[in-house]
C-alpha cells in the first residue's frame, strides 16, 4: 500500500510537470494516501464471539490528490463512493483515519483549536440542498454577517458593505432588495446563490461544492454553474466540485477524478476523460449520463446492478464483479496506478501500456 502511494505521487508529479508543462501555480492541497474509515455498529453479542472483528466502512481508502490555486477539480462517482466524505474531510468536518492532508504547507492534523478558526476562514463549503442548508429564521443579512462577526470584522458598516458586494457578485441584484429577505421568500436558485455568497463572504482561498445543483431545476442549473465558474476565476480560488453527473463536471472543471468505492480509479483532463474514458468504470459512468438527443433504440447501460457493500469489499480490483473486462488477475491483485499518456488509471488492463511508456 505504502509502495503504491509513493508511486502515485511520483506519477502525479511527473504528470503535472511533464505532460501539462510545468504548473507553477502554488499547491493549496496535497492529499497523501488519505483514508477515512467509519466503524460499523454491530450486535452486542457479536463482541463476545471468538472471531470478533471490528468492521469498517472504507468510505475513503487511499487517495492522493494535488489541488492548485485557480484550479477546479471534479470528483465524480455513484452515490456511496465516498465523494461527500472526501469533501467533508477536506474542510475538516470529518477527521481522517490515516494519511495526511497538507493545506498550504501545513498538515491539518497539526491545526489546533485556535488555528482552526484561521483554517475555516480559508476553506469553505457549499452544500447540496439549499432548502436545508440555510437557517429559515435568519435573514440573508444575518446569515452572511454571522461568519464575518466570527472572523473579526468589527465595523458594522464595513460588514454591510462586504455583504452587499458579495450579493452583487453572486448575481442577487439589486443587493439592497435582497439583503433583508428570508430564505422562504426566495426560489431554489436564489437560495443556492445565498449559500454560495455565505461561503464566499469571508473571501476563502478554497471552496468545496458538494452537488450544488442536484436539487435545482435543470433550467436554473446552467446559471449556477456559470456563476461558480466565474467566481472561481475572479477570486482565483482552488476548488473541488462534486457531482455524480459528468455532464455538469464538464462545464466547471479542468481535471476530473472518477471515484469508485473510496478510491480514485481515473484522474486526468476532464475533456479527455469524457472523449476517451480509459477505466471500464469511467466508461460505464459516461454511458449512464442521459442525453438530449432523442433516440429510438433505447438506453444503453452496462451497469445493471448496484455497487458492492463497502463493508465487505471484493478482493483485488474493487470493480471486478461488475467489470466486463475482468480477468483472473483482477480478482487476485490490487491494480496499481498506471500512467497512460498523462492519465492516471487504476486498472490491470493498462499494465503493459504503461510499461512500454516508461521503457
Amino acid at each position: 500500500m505504502e509502495n503504491t502511494a509513493t508511486n502515485i505521487e511520483k506519477i502525479q508529479d511527473k504528470e503535472t510537470d511533464g505532460y501539462q508543462g510545468i504548473d507553477e501555480r502554488p499547491v493549496v492541497y496535497k492529499l497523501n494516501n488519505l483514508k477515512v474509515h467509519f466503524p460499523v455498529h454491530q450486535k452486542l453479542m457479536n463482541r463476545f464471539k471468538k472471531d470478533y472483528q471490528v468492521k469498517t466502512v472504507k468510505a475513503v481508502d487511499g487517495i492522493n490528490l494535488t489541488i492548485r490555486q485557480g484550479e477546479t477539480i471534479g470528483i465524480a462517482g455513484e452515490s456511496g463512493c465516498g465523494k461527500s466524505t472526501l469533501a467533508k474531510t477536506l474542510v475538516k468536518l470529518v477527521e481522517p483515519t490515516s494519511g495526511e492532508i497538507i493545506f498550504n504547507g501545513k498538515d491539518l492534523k497539526d491545526i489546533g483549536r485556535t488555528d482552526n478558526k484561521a483554517f475555516r476562514k480559508q476553506a469553505q463549503m457549499v452544500f447540496q440542498d439549499p432548502y436545508e442548508s440555510l437557517n429559515p429564521r435568519f435573514s440573508i443579512r444575518q446569515t452572511l454577517e454571522e461568519s464575518l462577526k466570527i472572523h473579526g470584522m468589527k465595523s458594522k458598516s464595513k460588514r454591510t458593505e462586504r455583504i452587499l458586494e458579495t450579493l452583487t457578485m453572486v448575481g442577487l441584484r439589486p443587493a439592497e432588495k435582497y439583503i433583508d429577505r428570508y430564505p422562504h421568500e426566495l426560489s431554489g436558485g436564489q437560495r443556492q446563490r445565498v449559500a454560495i455568497a455565505r461561503a464566499l463572504v469571508i473571501r476563502p482561498t478554497f471552496l468545496v461544492a458538494d452537488e450544488p445543483v442536484s436539487m435545482l431545476d435543470v433550467s436554473i442549473r446552467a446559471s449556477i454553474l456559470n456563476l461558480i465558474m466565474k467566481l472561481v476565476k475572479e477570486l482565483d480560488l482552488a476548488s473541488v466540485y462534486i457531482s455524480h453527473d459528468l455532464s455538469l463536471i464538464r462545464y466547471v472543471c479542468e481535471k476530473t477524478a472518477i471515484m469508485y468505492l473510496g478510491r480514485i480509479v481515473e484522474f486526468g483532463d476532464t475533456e479527455e476523460i469524457i472523449k476517451n474514458p480509459l477505466h471500464p468504470y469511467s466508461q460505464a459512468l459516461l454511458e449512464a449520463v442521459p442525453n438530449t438527443v432523442p433516440k429510438e433504440d433505447g438506453i444503453m447501460i452496462s451497469l445493471d446492478d448496484e455497487a458492492p457493500n463497502p463493508i465487505d469489499l471484493p478482493t483485488g480490483c474493487r470493480f471486478h464483479p461488475r467489470c466486463k473486462f475482468a480477468t483472473e488477475i483482477c480478482k487476485q491483485r490490487d491494480p496499481k496506478v498506471n500512467n497512460v499518456n498523462g492519465r492516471l488509471v487504476e486498472c490491470h488492463l493498462y499494465n503493459e501500456q504503461s510499461m512500454e511508456q516508461t521503457s
Binding site: 455513484e78 452515490s79 441584484r173 426560489s187 431554489g188 431545476d217 435543470v218 433550467s219 436554473i220 442549473r221 446552467a222 446559471s223 454553474l225 456559470n226 455524480h244 453527473d245 459528468l246 455532464s247 455538469l248 464538464r250 462545464y251 475533456e271 469524457i274 460505464a284 459512468l285 459516461l286 454511458e287 449512464a288 449520463v289 442521459p290 442525453n291 438530449t292 438527443v293 432523442p294 433516440k295 433505447g298 438506453i299 447501460i301 451497469l303 445493471d304 448496484e306
Partner: protein, 341 residues
C-alpha cells in the same frame, strides 16, 4: 382522434390562495394513444404536477378543475368519489416523486403491494403475495426481499418497488412524477431502462413528468413543454427537440449540459417565471423572451400547428429561421439579462 386512450381538453385548474385565485393550469389540452409515452416538461411551478393531480383527482380542498379529462370515453371529472376511487390504481396508477416517502416504513414491502392488489380485486392474501412475487421478478428484485421493510432497500430498489406497485393491476395509464430526480445517474439509467422495457412489454401508456429534458429524450415519443400553466409547444420528441419553434424550448435546450459531442457554453434563461396570481396579459414568456415584440405583451398567442402533430403557441412562428439562429448566441440572452437586472 376520437379513440384516444386519454384525452385532456381545455383543462383549467385553480387553487384558492390568500392573493386570490391562482390558475396553475390554464387551458391545457393533449392526448395519449395506447402504448405511448408522453413527456411533460417545465420548470418548477409551471403546473405539471397540478395536471397529474387533476387527472388523479387528488387536488387539495379548495382547488377545482374545469374542462374534460376523458379516459376511454368517460370524463373523470364527472365521476363520484367512490367511482373515482375504482379508477385510481386500477386504470391509472402513479409512480411518485420521492421513493423515500412513498412507502410506509412500518409495513413490509410485500404487504404494501398486496394491499393495493387486494383493495381492487377479489384476490386472497396468498394470491396477492404471488402476484407481488411476479412483479418483483419483473422489476428485477429478489422475491425474498418482499419480506423486508423499506429502510432495508437502497434508493434505486425502493423506486423499483414502487414501479412494481404501479404495474400491479395492469393499468391503462401509468403516471410517473419525476421518477428519477433523487437518484444518481447510474441508477437513473437503470430505472429509465426498466420503465421503458416494461412499458413496451405491457403496452400501457405513460405520462412522464420531469424538468429534465434528457429524461424525456431518452424515454418518450411525445412531449408537451409547459410554461407558467400553459402549453407552449407540443409534438413528437424528435420534432420538438430537433426543430424547436418556441424560444422557451430553445432556451431550455441551451441551458442543458451535454455529454456527447463538443462542449458548448451553457446559456441560462434570464429572469424568473411570472406570478400566477397575477399572470401577464399577453404571452407569459414575453418578459424573458429576447424576441418579444409589442404584440407579445398584449395578446396571448394561439396554438398553431406547424407540422402534423407539432403545436406551437408563439407570435413569431414566421421568422423562425432567424430566431433559431439568434437563440444559439450567448449575446441574445445576455442582453436581456442586463435589461432585467
Amino acid at each position: 382522434m376520437t379513440n384516444s386512450l386519454l384525452e385532456i381538453k381545455n383543462l383549467r385548474t385553480c387553487y384558492k390562495s390568500l392573493d386570490g385565485l391562482v390558475w396553475a393550469v390554464d387551458d391545457v389540452s393533449f392526448t395519449i394513444e395506447p402504448g405511448e409515452t408522453l413527456g411533460l416538461v417545465g420548470e418548477s411551478g409551471c403546473g405539471k404536477t397540478t395536471i397529474i393531480k387533476s387527472i388523479m383527482r387528488l387536488l387539495p380542498r379548495g382547488a377545482f378543475s374545469s374542462g374534460e379529462i376523458s379516459l376511454k370515453g368517460t370524463n373523470l371529472l364527472d365521476l363520484s368519489i367512490p367511482e373515482m376511487r375504482k379508477v385510481r390504481w386500477d386504470k391509472i396508477s402513479i409512480i411518485s416523486q420521492s421513493a423515500m416517502n412513498a412507502l410506509d416504513p412500518v409495513y413490509k414491502v410485500g404487504d404494501q403491494i398486496g394491499e393495493a392488489i387486494r383493495t381492487h380485486t377479489t384476490a386472497t392474501k396468498t394470491d396477492a403475495w404471488k402476484r407481488a412475487e411476479e412483479l418483483f421478478a419483473l422489476v428485477g428484485i429478489d422475491k425474498a426481499r418482499l419480506n423486508e421493510y423499506p429502510h432495508q432497500f437502497s434508493g434505486g430498489m425502493r423506486q423499483r418497488a414502487i414501479i412494481a406497485m404501479a404495474l400491479a393491476l395492469n393499468p391503462d395509464v401509468i403516471v410517473a412524477d419525476e421518477p428519477t430526480t433523487a437518484l444518481d445517474v447510474v441508477v437513473q439509467a437503470q430505472i429509465l431502462k426498466r420503465i421503458r422495457d416494461l412499458q413496451k412489454k405491457m403496452n400501457s401508456s405513460m405520462i412522464m413528468v420531469t424538468h429534465d429534458i434528457s429524461v424525456v429524450a431518452e424515454t418518450c415519443q411525445k412531449v408537451v413543454v409547459m410554461y407558467a400553466g400553459k402549453v407552449v409547444e407540443s409534438g413528437s420528441v424528435k420534432d420538438v427537440f430537433e426543430n424547436p419553434y418556441h424560444p422557451y424550448t430553445m432556451g431550455l435546450k441551451n441551458a442543458f449540459p451535454n455529454i456527447k459531442g463538443d462542449k458548448f457554453d451553457l446559456i441560462s434563461i434570464p429572469g424568473y417565471p411570472p406570478d400566477l396570481a397575477d399572470p401577464p396579459k399577453g404571452c407569459r414568456f414575453a418578459d424573458r423572451c429576447p424576441f418579444a415584440s409589442d404584440i407579445c405583451f398584449v395578446e396571448q398567442p394561439a396554438s398553431e400547428e406547424v407540422k402534423v402533430g407539432h403545436m406551437v403557441a408563439c407570435h413569431h412562428i414566421d421568422s423562425i429561421d432567424e430566431i433559431r439562429e439568434q437563440a444559439k448566441k450567448h449575446d441574445t440572452w445576455a442582453k436581456l439579462d442586463k435589461e432585467l437586472a
